[in-house]
């Protein structure tokens, strides 16, 4: 027999918390903190009218009651969880993984969207976005005239939204990999297809279940 090297257990540092938190937290604690973060994100989003109208979507504009914003977060979380659960059962070597790990870590993986919600409070973003929406609602395709500070803030927030979405996808992948103990190209492919299916599923649920309830 040869001696084999296996990876050491993760260290508890800032990088692990940001990039691979599920090596440290999963199950019940991840579920509790994840749900709280989803609800906090929904609550804050209701003040700036920021919608997470799809697993990967962020849009600002439509006014809606608080429950609508809370429901969006929960819907996105559950859509991706269900799809990845099926994916995990299909590709995992051992199907004995705990569902609560995937459920909890998927909830916590949505925490970067809290940052998105917080930056939409920036005054420059709010006013530029309002001007942009007015122009779009008038059916025009022109660039709104605004101070440079507003444009810079808008560009910064938009860029941050993209970064946050990429970060979320990375966390969702880590959640799937650790919770279901999957690896390799087969798992990456299932995850990539899964996230697209979940996006479509959440869009349908948003359009045909949530929106009619408004």
């Amino acid at each position: 027999m040869t001696e084999t090297e296996s990876p050491k257990l993760p260290r508890k540092n800032l990088l692990t918390w940001l990039w691979n938190p599920f090596a440290i937290i999963a199950g019940g604690p991840a579920l509790t903190s994840g749900i709280l973060i989803i609800l906090a994100t929904g609550y804050l989003a209701s003040h700036t009218h920021t919608h997470f109208d799809g697993v990967l979507d962020t849009h600002v504009g439509l006014r809606a009651p608080l429950w609508f914003f809370l429901a969006e977060g929960i819907l996105n979380w559950l859509c991706l969880f269900i799809v990845l659960l099926i994916g995990g059962l299909l590709v995992a070597k051992r199907r004995s993984f705990r569902f609560i790990d995937l459920l909890g870590t998927q909830a916590l993986a949505r925490w970067p969207f809290l940052i998105t919600t917080l930056v939409t409070f920036l005054p420059g973003f709010k006013s530029f976005n309002a001007k942009l929406l007015t122009i779009v609602n008038q059916g025009k395709i022109t660039f709104p005239s605004a101070p440079a500070s507003e444009i810079i803030t808008f560009v910064f927030v938009t860029f941050l939204m993209i970064v946050v979405t990429v970060w979320f996808v990375a966390l969702a992948w880590k959640s799937f990999r650790i919770s279901c103990d999957v690896r390799g190209w087969k798992a990456i492919t299932v995850f990539a297809i899964g996230i697209i299916i979940a996006e479509v599923l959440s869009k349908f649920a948003f359009l045909f279940v949530l929106l009619p309830m408004l």
Partner: protein, 89 residues
Amino acid sequence: MIKFPTRCPSCNSGLVVRKLSCDHCETEVGGTFPLPRLTGLSPDDQDFILSFVESSGSLKEMATRLGVSYPTVRNRLNEIIDTLKDKTP
């Protein structure tokens, strides 16, 4: 710590034990004894197995003790199980 050899440095075949001796009375026992399967694991993995046994096989307790998540510990155990399976003749 001196690394416990399990493979022949010359031809890379698995090593066996030819001689055992008693440190107390210096009695020596000869024969061909295969190495226990666990010696094929890295020292880290052996420590992990020891820790697992000390936790009465509770992954939850181990996760708490090591300060990591339950699936992290379980996945590490799965890796060790796979390694041992791969090494089964």
